[in-house]
Amino acid sequence: MDGNSGFMEAGFVQVATTQGGGHSLEFFAERIVAKLIHVSETAPPPIRDQALAYQERMYQVVLDGLRRAVASDRAYFLKDKEK
């Protein structure tokens, strides 16, 4: 597609639903990382592999942070209820 070939296109959303509770921490970690880094399917393999490895590392860091945040919030909530 060159700069003179005009088009306007709509992307496709996905829907994620749950029953009887909220999404898992893994879901949120995946979505956060997806917003922070996107790896092109057409990137040269060495760059793509490195980016995917970085993406996986980010996922683990974000997931760990979310777990700590939830645990901290629950501890605060429980302590607050004891008062």
């Binding site: 597609m1 709509a10 992307g11 959303v13 829907v15 639903t17 029953q19 997806a34 996107h38």
Partner: protein
């Protein structure tokens, strides 16, 4: 009755009349409303309507306010994006959605087809926007 995935024709014209601004914080307010399978939405849709809009626990008519992502350029393609949006603790059945500009007369932007009824039951109903790149972003101009 059907919901198709399409950029609304009126939106294409209105862009040239500078009636839509997707800039984060300083731009217009865009909302997303969800609809049942009885709705008809597509390129010919021109504005938000409450007809056949979803009803259910955790859902308010008019839908959720979206968080804009300031448009960017990827090579020859201009694109914009929104943050994912969730209706928490909801009981909803929806077949599609409409993004519209609530700052400017509820003008329609894009109709979104889910492909089937999607259901939340005392849980989260989340719309996940595609990767913000030149091939997948929710609105792309090249």
């Amino acid at each position: 009755m059907a919901i198709t995935n399409a950029i609304c024709n009126s939106f294409k014209q209105e862009l040239m009349q500078k009636l839509h601004d997707f800039t984060l914080s300083t731009g217009n307010v865009f909302k997303i409303a969800m609809y049942t399978s009885a709705a008809t939405l597509g390129a010919a849709t021109t504005a938000y309507s409450a007809t056949n809009e979803v009803t259910g626990t955790g859902y308010t008519a008019g839908g959720n306010t979206l968080t804009n992502i300031t448009p960017t350029l990827s090579a020859n393609t201009a694109l914009t994006d929104f943050q994912d949006t969730t209706w928490p603790t909801s009981t909803i059945t929806a077949n599609g959605a409409l993004i519209y500009n609530s700052t400017n007369g509820n003008r329609a932007v894009i109709s979104l087809a889910f492909g089937a009824d999607k259901i939340s039951s005392a849980g989260d109903f989340t719309i996940v926007f595609p990767a913000p790149d030149a091939s997948n972003a929710i609105i792309r101009i090249a």
